[in-house]
Structures are given as structure tokens and as C-alpha cells.
Amino acid sequence: MSGFSAYLVRRLAAAVITLLGVVLVMVLLVRALPGDAARVIAGLQATPEQVEQVRQSLGLDQPVPVQYWRYVVNLAEGSLGTSARFGTSVLAEIGHRLPYTIALAVCGTFFGAIFGIALGVLAATHKGRWVDAVGSMLGVAGISMPVYWLGILLIVLFSVQLRWLPIGGAEGLASLVMPTITLGVFSMAVVSRMTRSTMLDTLDQDYVRTVRAKGVAEWIAVRHALRNAFIPILTVIGLQFGTLLGGAVLTETVFSWPGIGQLLVQSINNRDFPLVQGIVFVFAAMFIVLNIVTDLLYSVVDPRVRLFR
């Protein structure tokens, strides 16, 4: 087995153990939520018999270890169970919504990465001048602006006043514009701050001075510096993608985007245990995979980074 595949197997084995832990914590936490799930699912006007029926069908009358064991066995068989509210397979519900959230998170990440790096580089190369000040201002604004407020503001401007964009929904590329900006602004801010500080460090390095001393164009010097400053930036972008998956909840609500964030909130409110567990599980799995991919990307960006011997 080559070093690379051994490394990958090791990482994946660790991932499976992590996921089993996630399932355990999740099953315990969901059961610890206050309130009678069966009552909420059955509805206020349901009879006691109907409530009992729901309790049994969800297995909520069983002890927690039994519930955990059943969940793991189902998981091994590739099933995430049946939604208590929709009566359909959890996997199907998630499969239906996940692509929307991923599309949004990818667009938000690209938006954040492209504008964040550009802003950060500009700020670093123009340190102390007005460009830097504007960059800092945007950074602070992006981090501190509530997603919800920004979303409504964009809707008022682009939909109500200018009538350029749809207020929400998922019909065509136009409906992606505002959610992407709303979601991407935060990560743009984070990425630009990180880029600025690592670039400032790198631009002070001897090799950059050497390159400049050779008399090359400034942008070539910056390109050299950026390549070397990239590792921490990449880490931030990778982490941001994960945050965006979670952060999509509010954005999806404001823009009526039919993604998984909205579904998660809805299913928590409905105490739809199987669906909540399924979504959390999928989120956890994606986060783990994302971490592995980010680690692998390090060695692509910087050949000196060796993940395995």
C-alpha cells in the first residue's frame, strides 16, 4: 500500500469512529430536549391513543441504549429512518434539499474567497493608505452585520426599489445572487483579514525583498508572496465552508431558499427526531470529509507539506 492510501485509510477509519461518537451524542441530546415529541407530532387535537401510537412508531417508548443500537444498525444498512412528520425516507428528504444548500455554500465560499483574497491583498500592498482603511471597514462591517438584516436590506434595494431580482425562491441564477452575497460577506470579511495579515508577514520576508531587488514588476512579487501566504488562508476558507453550511439556516429563511437549513429548523420545531438526526449526521459527515480534503489540499498548494511518510 502506498503511503498515500495508507494515510487515507487511517483518516477514514478515524472519521468512522468520530461519526459513531456523533451519533451517540446526537441520540442523547435529541432525547434530552424538553417536551413531549409524540404530543407535538400528533397535534394538539389528537387523542391520547393517537399520541401513544406515535410514541410507539418512533420507538420513543424504548430505553435510550436500545434506540441508539437501532439507529446504528439502521445506519449500517444505509438507512437514516423515516421522517415522523412527512412519513417519507429521511435520506430522500435530505437528498432533495442538500443540493440547494451545497450550491449556496459553494457560491458563498467562492464569493468570500475571491473578494476576501482580493481585498486582503490590496489592503496589505497599500498598508496605511485609504484602500487599507476601506478594506478594514468592509471587514468589520462584514463580520458584524447580522445576516438577517443584510438580507432584508438587499431585498428592499434589489427587489422592491430596483425590481431587478426575485425576493427569494430557487428559480434560475438570478435567485442565487442575493443569498450568495448575504452568505458570502461574512466569510469575505474573515478571509480578507487573514489574507491581509499573512500577506504583510510574507511581504517582509527576505525572498520577497530579493525578488524586488531584482527589479521585477510588483505584481510578480505579490504573486510569490501570496503563494506562500496561502496555507493559513486555505485553512480559513475550508473552515468557512463548514460554517456556511450551518450559517445557511438564516439566509435560507430570509430568501425562502429550499435548502437543508430551513428543513433543520422546521424539523427541530416539529420534534421530528429521525429527520433532525439525519440532518445532523449528514452535516457531521460533510464536515469531516471537508477537513480531510482541506488537509490534502495543503500538499497541493505547498509541496513541502508532507501528510504521510
Partner: protein, 531 residues
């Protein structure tokens, strides 16, 4: 089951229906025939116009028997019809049944069905088909969360293609209203095994309505298309698209941006601005949902009627309605909201802090500390008005702390007699607009876990009268009984009586004919652009 006066109630039953029902029926039939045609003056159906409606919650099912939410019912109603329906006044009107009568003993309801009607898949509508849908509700094989109204049904019989007989275990004056709710919708029996449908779960409803279900993109949109050979008056819009927009501010923006024609529940804080906007028309439709603060009467000093009355006098409802509720609610003047059958106006606990203090003194109550629990975002301005109420209670010397909770914890908490709160905010909406469902909040038989009488209030006289009214088929004497109960309950005050909510709708002022049914439903079948 028997009432305490079987003779007298039998006697009145046999006298009334012949004259009363016949007259009502003739009137109702006449009304329904002319309703669309003349009153609304709908222009010829448009070949391509679309009506876009912004709704706040996504559907969880399109199966009429399994739904639990008024918005979902509202959407399902575009494609499926019931045997009977409610008009804008909440009175029962014919739909797929043209007339009906109850047998002398009150144990059989016979319905005469509309002839020549076809389901959207071409299957003929007849008594067999109607029986198929209704039997589902009592079979025990399908989850029917709003199924309590059908418990009196013993069996359903297709007498001939145009006559359906429903045999009952006991006389049930509330069966007809219950046949008007979405749960009792009639769908094509042939469709029950097609397009993903199974007899226990309908995912593609096929009915007889003016529109047919076309598609449901989960989380974003439900689309209905007009049926061109519909048996009744055809609506103007070719397509109705329900857009799922959970955020009220976004719905409002959609209306103002011209992307939505009608929206449900705009942000209540913007009602004043919307009502003065000439591009928007605002409708506050009366509803069946009363909102109140239930008082746990098992916890002293709330076992004392005077203390409960004092709470009612202590709160300035009118001021809260104006300043906190933005006039989106109507004050209660009876334990029943005015849209329920059997409602009678009883009185008002007019704001009178002096009287409240006096009653508290008479009850010997001093330095009272209570907890007022409220959900957040479940009812219009719920946690906000709870704060206002607590302020008013403080003015008469009651220290009321407001406690907010998420809905599931709330539902579980309020069903406990020893819950960590004495007062809690709750709403209750009898979708069949029937008095008895409202009375479940005040009878000993419906305390948790059997029902949601979460004030744990019961009174032998009220229990007895409620049981009698439930079996009384004579409208006039039943209404008298119901009125007496309302007076008694009002006096004994197991709630701080607040208001009945309205269903707030806003639509583009360029269209007209948007209507409603007083059980939290809107109706756009008569809607069209202004000429």
C-alpha cells in the same frame, strides 16, 4: 348513550328539521348557484394568467386526512372538494352534496349528491367514491390527526349512485360541520394507487375542485392548474402558485415588489403602514381562533373565582389590542369566538383596576407572585402581549414574571397540573366552527391527557349541560344550552379572556375578489384583476 331528557329532545328533533332544514336547504342551493355568477361578476377565465400567493409554512403532506395545519388545508382545498362547505359567514353550504336530511332518530344522515361530476382523472364522482374517502377516516388504518369529529360514524353506505347514507352511533349535530373541513375531502378512488399514492398515504391528490394539483417543489412552491371542465363556475386565473416564504418581512417585500399577488400574515408591526399604502389592500378576516391566558384553577388562590375575575378586570385589553396587537384581533365578549355556531355575546370584563383590587382584597389575596408562560411566535405578538399583561397585573399588586419557552416544552408543560407556571398563553381554533370543540376547553372529561383543558377547570353543571348539548339535534334549544354554558364559563373565568385572532391577508390593490372563510382560510376563486 342517552340524554337526561330523551323524550323532550326526541320531540323537538322530529318537529324542527322538516321545516327548518327544507327552508335552509332551498335557500342554500339558490345561494350557491348564484354566488359566483352574479355576486362576484368574475370575468371570463384567462387563458394564461397566474395568481401568486405567498404562504408562511411549507406543506408537510397533501393528504387531506393526515394534514394538521390550516395553511395546508387551504392549499389542498384548491383541488379537493367536500360534500358540504362553509361560506364566508361560516354557514354550511352545499358543495358535492346538494341536499341532506337527518332521520327522525338522529342516527342516519342522508346526503343527495351532485350528479354529472367527474374527478380530474375522469373517474365519475358518486356515492361509492364519497364512501371510499370517508371510510378512510374511520378505518383506523390512516393517521387522522383531526379525526375526532368523525367518531360518531358507525358505517357509511352508498344507497345508490347519488345517495349516501351515514349511519351513526349516536345523534351528532356536529357531523355536518365536520364534513365541511378539509379532512373530509373526497378524492378519486382510482387515484389511490396511482402516481405514488397508496391507500394510506396520498401524495398526489386527485379531486373534483376548480383546480388540479400539478406539482409540489418541497420547500419552495405548490402549483395548481385550472380544470377546464369543472362542474361549477370557472375561476379567472389559469394557474395558482403558492410560494413558500417563511419570513414575514420577505413576504411583504414580495408583495411590494409586485412578485406576489396575495400574502398571508404580513408582519403585524407593518399593518399600519400597509393599510395606508394605496398599492395594497389589507383584509382582516375574522377567524375561529381564540387567544387567551389559561389559569390553572387547581393552584391556590386561583381556585377562587374572585381572583380569576380580578385578573380579567385588571388587564386593559382594548389598549393592548391597539398598541401591541396593531388591531389584528377582535376582543372576546364570550368564551366562544363570534364565528362559532352557537356563539352568543355574554359581556365584557371592562378594564377596572379598582374592581380588580377590591376582588383580590375580598379573596384575601396579598403579595401574589405568579409566572406567566408564553410561547414565542406561535400566535400574533404572543410574547409581546404577555409582557403587557404582566405590566397590568403589576398595577393591581400581582407580581407576574413572564417566561418564554419553545413550543414542544410548552405543550408538555401546560399539561401538567403542577407546572412551574400558574398562567399560560394559548390559542384554540375549532376548524369545524362548532361550539362543542370550544367547550372541550372547559369540561372535566377533556382535561389532560384526554384533552387540552389546561386550566383544569370543571363544573358539574357545565359538564352536564355540555353533554346534553352534544346530543341535541334541535338548533334552537341547543343554542340556548350553549349560550347558558358561555354565560357560566364567562362568570367562572377559567381564562383571562383576550381576543380572537384575525387572519391577515394583504393583496395587490390591482386585483379584487379575494375572500375568506372564518376558519383561518383565504379564498381566491372569485379573484381577478380590476377592470
Amino acid at each position: 348513550m342517552s340524554t337526561s331528557h330523551p323524550q323532550s329532545s326526541q320531540a323537538t328533533v322530529s318537529r324542527r328539521p322538516r321545516t327548518g332544514l327544507a327552508a335552509t336547504l332551498m335557500f342554500a342551493v339558490a345561494m350557491s348557484v348564484t354566488a359566483y355568477a352574479s355576486a362576484q361578476g368574475t370575468p371570463a377565465p384567462s387563458p394564461n394568467a397566474t395568481l401568486t400567493i405567498g404562504i408562511g409554512v411549507d406543506l408537510d403532506t397533501v393528504d387531506p386526512a393526515q394534514q394538521t395545519t390550516t395553511t395546508v388545508q387551504n392549499v389542498i382545498d384548491y383541488g379537493l372538494e367536500k360534500l358540504v362547505a362553509f361560506d364566508t359567514q361560516g354557514k354550511i353550504k352545499p358543495l358535492l352534496a346538494t341536499s341532506w336530511e337527518t332521520s327522525k332518530d338522529g342516527l342516519t344522515l342522508t346526503l343527495h349528491l351532485r350528479e354529472g361530476v367527474k374527478f380530474h382523472d375522469g373517474t365519475p364522482f358518486n356515492a361509492e367514491a364519497a364512501a371510499f374517502s370517508l371510510e378512510r377516516l374511520i378505518s383506523g388504518k390512516v393517521k387522522v390527526p383531526i379525526g375526532a369529529g368523525f367518531k360518531s360514524i358507525k358505517s357509511i353506505e352508498a344507497v345508490n349512485p347519488s345517495t349516501l347514507a351515514i349511519h351513526l352511533k349516536n345523534p351528532d349535530p356536529n357531523l355536518l360541520p365536520n364534513l365541511s373541513i378539509t379532512t373530509a375531502s373526497i378524492f378519486s378512488p382510482t387515484s389511490a394507487t396511482k402516481e405514488g399514492n397508496t391507500p394510506t398515504n396520498i401524495v398526489h391528490p386527485v379531486g373534483t375542485g376548480p383546480y388540479q394539483f400539478t406539482r409540489w417543489n418541497k420547500g419552495s412552491e405548490v402549483v395548481y392548474t385550472r380544470v377546464d371542465d369543472y362542474w361549477g363556475a370557472k375561476p379567472y386565473y389559469k394557474t395558482v402558485s403558492f410560494k413558500v416564504i417563511p419570513e414575514a418581512n420577505s413576504r411583504e417585500a414580495g408583495l411590494l415588489a409586485g412578485q406576489l399577488d396575495v400574502i398571508m400574515n404580513p408582519p403585524v408591526t407593518d399593518l399600519t403602514a400597509l393599510s395606508s399604502n394605496p398599492a395594497v389592500k389589507l383584509i382582516k378576516a375574522p377567524s375561529d381562533r381564540s387567544v387567551f391566558i389559561a389559569i390553572n384553577v387547581t393552584k391556590p388562590p386561583f381556585d377562587n373565582e374572585k381572583v380569576r375575575q380580578a385578573l380579567n378586570y385588571a388587564v386593559d385589553k382594548d389598549s393592548i389590542i391597539k398598541n401591541v396587537m396593531f388591531d389584528a384581533v377582535n376582543p372576546m365578549d364570550s368564551p366562544f369566538p363570534s364565528s362559532l355556531t352557537g356563539y352568543c355575546k355574554v359581556g365584557s370584563y371592562k378594564y377596572d383596576p379598582a374592581k380588580a383590587k377590591q376582588l383580590l382584597a375580598e379573596a384575601g389575596v396579598k403579595n401574589l407572585k405568579v409566572t406567566l408562560a408564553t410561547p414565542t411566535g406561535r400566535y400574533i405578538q404572543d410574547s409581546q402581549f404577555a409582557q403587557a399583561v404582566s405590566g397590568y397585573l403589576r398595577k393591581v399588586g400581582i407580581e407576574a414574571n413572564v417566561r418564554t419557552m419553545d413550543w414542544p416544552s410548552y405543550v408538555s408543560g401546560m399539561q401538567q397540573k403542577d407546572a412551574p407556571f400558574e398562567l399560560h398563553v394559548l390559542g384554540w381554533a375549532p376548524g369545524a366552527l362548532d361550539g362543542p370543540t370550544q367547550l372541550q376547553m372547559f369540561t372535566g372529561a377533556t382535561m389532560p391527557p384526554k384533552g387540552l383543558n389546561t386550566s383544569f377547570f370543571s363544573d358539574p353543571a357545565i359538564d352536564k349541560l355540555t353533554a346534553e348539548a352534544a346530543l341535541n339535534l334541535d338548533d334552537a334549544s341547543r343554542n340556548q344550552q350553549l349560550c347558558q354554558i358561555q354565560k357560566d364559563v364567562w362568570q367562572k373565568a377559567p381564562w383571562i379572556f383576550l381576543w380572537s385572532q384575525t387572519l391577515v391577508l394583504a393583496h395587490n390593490a390591482k386585483i379584487t375578489g379575494v375572500s375568506y372563510v372564518p376558519n383561518e382560510k383565504f379564498e381566491t376563486l372569485g379573484a381577478h384583476p380590476k377592470p
